[in-house]
Amino acid sequence: MLNTLQIYNNYLVERSLLSVMPELVIVIFAFIVLFLGLFRKLPDNDNSYYLSLIGIVFSILYVLMLSNQNINGFFGSVVFDGMDVFVFIAILFAGLLTILMSKKYIEMFNLPLAEYYSLILFTVAGMMLLVSSVNLIMIFLSIEFMSISAYILTGYIKGNTRSTEAALKYFILGSFASAFLIFGSVFIYAATGHLNIYNIHNFLYTGSSNSGLSASIRDYLSIGLILFLIGLAFKMSLFPFHAWTPDSYDGAPTTVTNLMATGIKVAAFAIFIRVFSSIFDSSVFNFYNILWILSVLTMTFGNLAALLQTNIKRLLAYSSIAQAGYMLIGIIGGGHYGYTATLFYLLSYVFMTAGAFAIVIVFENLNIASFDIKSYSGIGYKYPLISASMSFFLLALAGIPVTSGFMGKFYVFSAAIKSNYDWLIFIALLNSALAAFYYIKIIVRMYMISNGDADQVELGESSANMTAIAANITPSLIITIIISLIFTLLLGIYPQMFIHFASQSVTSLWKI
């Protein structure tokens, strides 16, 4: 019998292509979308939207098809392993939800659609390449691939000063971070002579077992790893390096904000786990202490700043900074259990955040509320279903039981407790209480504070409202909200399946 896999094993090029197949599908579809965009005569409305959805679905199918494989491609610069499978699913869902929610929203601005959808696909492909890269060159290239598309998307609303300004700030700080990343790579390269992180790992461990690393190598390595950490911390938006986050989240189109908050964060954390578990050797420098401080500062600052916000997008931006602090706790907890917990948290975070942003878009489309939280007053009774799901997502972000946010926090905190980080958990729990305040503040506003004119809604007006809703909420937005609701609930009620999946994927990190 002809075994297809054996044939693949025999041919290097095919094998290399196989290792990037999910990304390649996305890139091919992005080019098709871009190419069809050339023909302005075509009814430009829907084809790019549907094509990009098909691309994402094909890519998910490819990931599932390859899910048992462990493929090294392109002379060991790209790897497709279990870790990739889990994170790809999270990233592809982030991309899927972003595309679903952009349908009506991006048409409102009268912007070219084909370029928009193809840039979204390119960003998603960049994120996936970033997660699967195991070479410092590949890590740098894919971070840039992802970020350059994201810079363009951030400034996509032509003539909107806020959008341009957000793109400007994102670009300057993003490139600043990349410069730190490559300058860190210089020192790592000077210390070890390798660019592949598995080779660096082997160099460090065989070197330290023989005679210990020499002093100059140790110095180079600690400088390099700290610069590298700073570069990645910008992308993960940890505290001292978070400055771009609220501004670019606020100015970007809301759909792009969603992609940045979910996809880019997931990709940055995944590559950090991959790099941290292999080359951040504690014999060189105790990185756990640095991460401890970063995590505490990140969540405390994120929550305190979110308390003061009056703009919903900014509030969600600061809350995403705080969530990054919680995700870091799992990495600090370390080991198999800690990384599993962080991956689970990342997956649940994708759905919670996407749901919340989808509802912000619903309100924006309906023109019933601006980004100002004050305009959310009394919405709860006018639009009961939408407000109820908004409350659910906000409770999930706050970490109330039954939701995925609670299970995520539970696993992350228990991973840290296993490693005896009691004070860290104490601070994190205080922070969760603080965070609950500003999430619940929005819910209180929606249900308990009247808008003034809310009492005067008459029957005729409310039926007019219903038609307005029907015209402005597209089925795709409803699908987005329903997918997010289902997964937020499923991850909260029945997390075992996903935890099992995550722990299986994490094991591939140690198969070096």
Partner: protein
């Protein structure tokens, strides 16, 4: 050949670039400072790969140069969009989004 000297020069260039990004007000000068940071890393790579007799550092430099060109394209695009809206490329005018 002492590798430290090269890395110190690269470090100085990198710091000058970083300071430039942080304190200069003109958008174009900020982009130039970013390029300086990238090129400091390039210098480091070339020196290290010459010192270790390896080729991979040189390959990295080529990739960094390619990416820097792509970034310059985006950067100038953003600068033009910014100029059209504000009539200036002073970074201090990017003050709509704060806190």
């Amino acid at each position: 050949m002492d590798i430290n000297a090269y890395l110190i020069v690269a470090g100085i260039l990198f710091s000058i670039g970083g300071l430039g990004v942080l304190i200069r007000k003109n958008l174009i000068v900020v982009f130039m400072s970013l390029e300086l940071m990238f090129n400091a890393a390039n210098l480091g790579f070339v020196a290290v790969s010459g010192y270790l007799n390896l080729i991979s550092g040189d390959i990295f430099v080529i990739f960094v140069m390619v990416v820097a060109a792509a970034e310059a394209a985006i950067a100038l695009g953003i600068a033009i969009a910014f100029y059209r809206e504000k009539g200036t490329i002073n970074i201090d005018k990017a003050n709509e989004l704060k806190w």
